[in-house]
Symmetry: C2
Subunit: 807 residues, 2 copies
């Protein structure tokens, strides 16, 4: 059991920040990730402004990627062709400081004091330190770094330097560096750290990626750099303004080269005097707009920043975050340590998504290059629940992004010999990029995941306009894919089966009738049919549009209904459980208790063929179905399934713990629910999966919200009906959170003996608490007494019977 795996002498508990009191070489990569700042468009890892010793530099622009031809060792028809890899955007975080010509190097400096905080309230990364230079002079250095939520393209970095003891020459060298091509430090570093093979990482490029197009110094020493990616032909420009506040002799020089821009100030500083340097940075990127035009946009953005002033931008940042937390905060009554970690997680979801807009939400947000910056189902299933109920506009953007990929998905379906649309398992540009199809393209469930998230969004937000314009088309095309992928099997009865797919669990691949896939496909088919039927009655024009544009027929819709009704849901009578797939239970059971830690995660120590041969699970699969399609299963089934699958679940994916926690809560394994919650809570903060260096596990941060709201508060929202069946952990005093429902705010307060709802809007909001209907009128609070928090089953699950341990 994990309770608090954090070294509190170094990372103290704070309400509104993640704070470090001591730098360390030991976990540089982890802290770089965990102190990242970003807005979903632009992200900067928490590398020190002074550079030099870092684990992995990284400034990322969501979706700014290079493409490469995927050369399969053995080629086959339909294999993914275009590799897509996020690249390092020119790094503007560099601000090197020299006093008496001695550089400040965080990991070597004699630091009298040091404190670094990622502030959830102000949206700033702050660092305050006092440095004793080699010659014994004390220097106070305060740095601030912010990626603006309100100005999508803007980052503001500042540094205040005060000599405390004696005068000294001070040099500040502020730079922009193309690190993608300028040095191989990036990859060499990872190798040098002695890290072995890990397929989840990528190191793709051996030749130049960013072609230099322009570089210039403009009026006011404004510096501009512009590049274009060699293959994908994406364009990028970055512009930088410097504002130096210093009275005294200063010599300033600004130069640019193909791959760098340097602004250097040489100052004669006196003690007590504060030198203030503010660096305003603007990034613009595009799929094809010429670089000079992007440079012009940078100029306009920087002009606006200048006009507003950085203080105003900081104030807007604060306001933006006040709004965010007023909707999204989850209060952990009386538990400051958990509170801090919960807020860190929620803040990460925000940083990954807030201004993603025309892009998807990468698996690592904008904090690292893990998974090559790709978009997965993580968005729809792990991130969108939180966004749907706290920032519905952001949720809408993410779904609109999928709609923009619909034509690509149609093409991919054709290539895969299917009708309708098949969304790519992983992508940036809309093309399938999963080069290992068994755990990639075979995950057809991505279609249903999108349909599911879409329906939930529409039900929660009441955004019918989205349903009419984009939603219905996605539903139709995904339903078509399912109707075509499955087939009618005549063995006694007629049933609809789906073969040759992979469910969420990537330790089991290419199977028949994966439970998760089948229940989600059934949902997709039924929802599509229902939507079309409803539009026919209520929105004849929209319906006519579908008929004309998509060639939709009544027969086709009826076919979806028949397929949904006849969908095969395998059930094993003897064990009383749902097989993960039709033949899952035929497999030999892998006894995880016999697999030593050095053989974990399995994927790094066993050939896929070996793993696939056993009953062993990477991540929640049936368990995920029990959650997402919970109204399709009885409590008895859920408990039996959970008891069977949990002991063979490795949790080798961070997508697992949050779902296991939710279902453990529901079926009564309250201690396990808490274990999994803690695991998810600290997965990055304590680097529990040992790969936080590659970026934040964004799905887990989103899922964490779900463990609280769906898990402990027991929310279920099937078909838009909001029910609560709470499971507050034994030792918790209470939790408070808010939900956005049809544009209104519903505040929820859960304690051990009651749950209360406050409607901050005007219209009645109806919820259910277990069997009771509760109507909460506008401005009203309704409190419902709770006489229990669900079943409380003792202990934790052991292992299922062992047949044999794999060699």
């Amino acid at each position: 059991m994990i309770t608090d795996p954090i070294d509190r002498t170094r990372f103290p508990v704070r309400d509104w920040s993640w704070t470090e009191l001591r730098p360390s070489r030991d976990d540089m990569g982890v802290t770089e990730t965990n102190f990242s700042v970003g807005n979903g468009y632009l992200g900067m890892r928490g590398t020190p402004a002074e550079g030099r010793e870092t684990h992995t530099h990284g400034t990322f622009i969501n979706g700014f990627h290079e493409t490469w031809h995927i050369r399969h060792a053995e080629e086959a028809y339909g294999f993914a062709k275009t590799g897509q890899t996020i690249v390092l955007a020119p790094d503007s975080s560099v601000m090197k400081l020299y006093v008496d010509d001695e550089p400040l190097l965080i990991n070597e400096a004699d630091l009298i004091s040091y404190e670094r905080s990622l502030r959830f309230d102000t949206g700033q990364l702050t660092r305050d330190l006092v440095w004793r230079t080699p010659s014994g002079k004390r220097v106070k250095v305060s740095s601030r770094r912010m990626v603006s939520f309100t100005e999508r393209h803007v980052a503001i970095l500042s540094m205040e330097i005060t000599l405390l003891d004696a005068e000294a020459p001070v040099v500040i060298s502020s730079q922009v560096l193309n690190r993608q091509d300028g040095s191989d430090e990036y990859h060499v570093r990872a190798d040098a750290m002695g890290e072995g093979f890990d397929p989840r990482k990528a190191s793709r490029f051996t030749s130049r990626v960013l072609e230099p197009i322009i570089h210039r110094v403009g009026p006011g020493r404004r510096m501009l750099l512009g590049h274009r990616t060699m293959q994908s032909r994406m364009t990028l420009a970055v512009g930088v303004d410097h504002d130096l506040d210093f009275e005294g002799h200063a010599e300033i020089n600004a130069t640019t080269g193909k791959d760098s821009a340097k602004w250097v100030a040489r100052l004669d500083a006196r003690p007590g005097q504060t030198i203030r340097l503010t660096k305003s940075v603007a990034y613009h990127t595009s799929k094809g707009v010429p670089v000079p035009e992007l440079a012009d946009r940078c100029v306009r953005t920087l002009d606006r920043v200048k006009a507003l002033g950085v203080d105003e931008i900081a104030a807007r940042q604060r306001k933006f975050l006040d709004d965010f937390w007023s909707r999204a905060d989850v209060e952990m009554v009386g538990q400051p340590a958990l509170q801090q970690a919960v807020r860190w997680n929620l803040f990460q979801v925000l940083q990954a998504s807030a201004r993603a807009e025309q892009s998807g939400i990468p698996a690592k947000g904008v904090t690292g290059s893990g998974y090559e910056g790709h978009y997965f189902w993580d968005t729809e299933i792990y991130v969108l629940p939180f966004l749907t109920y706290t920032s519905p506009d952001t949720a809408r953007n993410a779904l609109r992004f999928r709609y923009q990929l619909l034509d690509d998905a149609r093409r991919r379906a054709r290539e895969m010999a299917q009708e309708g649309a098949l969304f790519p398992w992983r992508t940036i540009n809309g093309e399938e990029a999963s080069a290992y199809y068994a755990a990639g393209t075979a995950q057809y469930h991505i279609d249903a995941d999108i349909a599911f998230a879409l329906c939930r969004y529409v039900e929660a937000s009441g955004d019918d306009a989205f349903l009419l314009k984009e939603g219905a088309e996605i539903l139709v095309e995904t339903a078509r894919m399912w109707a075509d992928l499955g087939f009618w099997r005549h063995n006694g009865g007629r049933r609809f089966e789906i073969h040759g797919v992979t469910g969420p669990d990537e330790y089991t691949a290419v199977v028949n009738n994966n439970l998760f896939t089948n229940v989600m496909a059934r949902y997709n088919l039924a929802k599509a049919a229902q939507t079309v039927r409803r539009l026919e009655l209520t929105e004849p024009q929209a319906h006519a549009g579908l008929v004309t544009q998509l060639g939709l027929t009544d027969d086709e819709v009826a076919g979806w209904e028949r397929a949904a009704l006849a969908m095969y849901i395998p059930f094993d009578e003897s064990l009383g459980i749902h097989p993960q797939d039709e033949h899952f239970l035929d497999r030999e059971v892998w006894d995880l208790s016999e697999t030593p830690p050095e053989k974990r995660p399995l994927l790094l120590h066993y050939h896929p063929l070996v793993i696939y041969r056993f009953q062993v699970i990477k991540q929640a699969d049936v368990c995920m179905a029990l959650f997402l399609q919970g109204d399709q299963f009885t409590m008895e089934e859920k408990r039996a399934d959970f008891e069977y699958y949990d002991p063979i679940t490795t949790g080798d994916s961070t997508l697992s713990a949050v779902v296991q926690s939710i279902v453990a809560s529901e079926v009564g394994y309250h201690e396990m629910a808490l274990d999994y919650f803690h695991h998810a809570l600290y997965v990055d903060l304590a680097d529990l999966h040992r790969n936080t260096v590659d970026g934040v596990h964004v799905a887990s941060t989103g899922g964490l919200w779900a463990t609280i709201v769906y898990g402990f508060a027991g929310l279920r929202d099937h078909h838009g009906t909001m029910t609560f069946d709470p499971r507050l952990p034994v030792d918790w005093a209470g939790i408070r959170f808010r939900l956005q429902l049809s544009g209104q705010t519903l505040a929820v307060t859960l304690d051990q003996d009651s749950i209360a709802f406050t409607n901050h809007g005007d219209d009645v909001i109806r919820v259910w608490v277990r069997e009771s209907e509760v109507d909460v009128a506008g401005g009203q609070t309704r409190t419902v007494a709770l006489d229990h928090q669900g079943d409380r089953l003792p202990g934790r699950l052991g292992n299922v019977p062992v047949v044999r341990q794999a060699q």
Copy 2:
């Protein structure tokens, strides 16, 4: 139905040659393959000596390969790491001819006569033509090309030129060219032919492969070239002697460069005078011997050739082939066209295997670079039956080669988390090279295929020495692999199951309890146990060796026996057939009658996921089990299985038709048996699979022998018992062939109403004809009357019921 798909005006029927009367640009790649000469070590495609316009140059040394790091688009533990690709050896076939400075270009020349023959009796490629030069002079040119069977490292090429009309200056430019690096003609050509993507081809190298080490002209203008491969560090030397027989003025010049050697003669030729040039070539290769030493070997080989004289080498070639045909010929009574094609096929097996010796037998022999020169199960299952019964020493070499790979196979088993040894699915150097594991490494059956071929060889040859020294060790280590791979499943009864493997059919991948795999594994386990038990009684010393060296215990052997007895053999009662794998029949049926020709072969037009989802078969799988383990099935089962599977078998692999023919013969579909036989017979001669350009389908050429001997003559040799249950096709007068049995020759004569056996040895040979035991004493002939040739079922099979056609 295919009867004679050959254009007989161009390729006339001849008893002992494959002959071409007219060159053509249309099928250059095909004729290059079909007129290849080789001895299993050295091979030369049938490109014209004059070069210039060819489809694909190619001189190959079996096993002479370059390695490369396999970069998987998505990496995983245990994926094959080392790519291995056969490379082009320096090409010594070039002998350019100029008369009046006009080059002879076969495809453009005005040819008064032309005849090219691959001679099965002399082992020579001969070409005789009369050329009218642009200035109207007639020139007779006779070329000979031979790769010696008796001198493994030697090729002899010659050219005789006679001016028929008038004198003229004649230039002969004889060359050796490193075509691997010297020009990109090789690959450019294939692209220029408009051929699309085909995963079975490889074009790996973009940088230099052969590093030049030495080149020199020695005494007598002997030329030597030596290279080393850049990565695999294999070494090669080639030496060339020229012998010019010409009376008159001749100016000769010999030069070498890093990548070429040129011998040029300028002659003033008179009409009626014959110019004879003989080019003797020696190749030596090695895994690491320094190039200069190989060059010395070339010198010694050339000296010996010189001492022997090329006439003597030709005479020995003839003698070698006389011996071969006396053992291996299959006479097709009264059917000259079939006779010619049968001999071409058998000659190809010889050319692929005769002197392979320390190497395996590549899928394309030494006729092309298809499948990158790799060794597969083709050797054991398709080629070894023929070799075992006609050239047992060659069979022994092929099996010894596997023994040499045993340590690699042990390592690979460990990597795949298994005990014992797991042979690579495809390899040159012993390491697994199958980069697509689902149709590669997953074919664990390779272990049983090797065990099977080994046991058959020992039973047929009586070579107990091989069993004691190499065979038993292979049997033990493969049995160990199976015992460990499978597991005991407790569902009602106890049965032994094998999961997560791919059978021979590559259109169905990674399945549980593949019938073929299970019956072959059962055989492997039982034979290993039987062998150990027998050695314990009869060869205690050998047995003790196994115990000491391999740590073999009695318990372990008992475990193999139990596993073999309890091996799960799925059977579907309702259909009365064996499912290809446990869940094969759950799949949707692919209706091949609805798949247009332009969508075939399926692998070039459908993603593997699509293909795997259906009941559709690339190649004989259950059908193969019915043949190889025929004593384990009843005739009723065989017929039912054949009737079920044949209509869903695409035959997209050339490994299929021969097996389908054999089983069709057995179960009574005599017309289909003949269809499949014809298909196999002409697969390369008529380029039926449209990829003969890549080399001869060696497995099919070996399998063709099996269609006659096992199929039409009805031989079965389970556990060394030779039974005949003949199935002579209706219109055939008879067939004659010979078998080597324990060092003796048994001649078999099958006619419509009798089968006769002549024992050319001393000891009694016992065979069975159907239920009757027939003892044939040494020197004796026994004739058994036949009152039928098996059941003769009418017609051909149609398609099984259609559920739905794939899109």
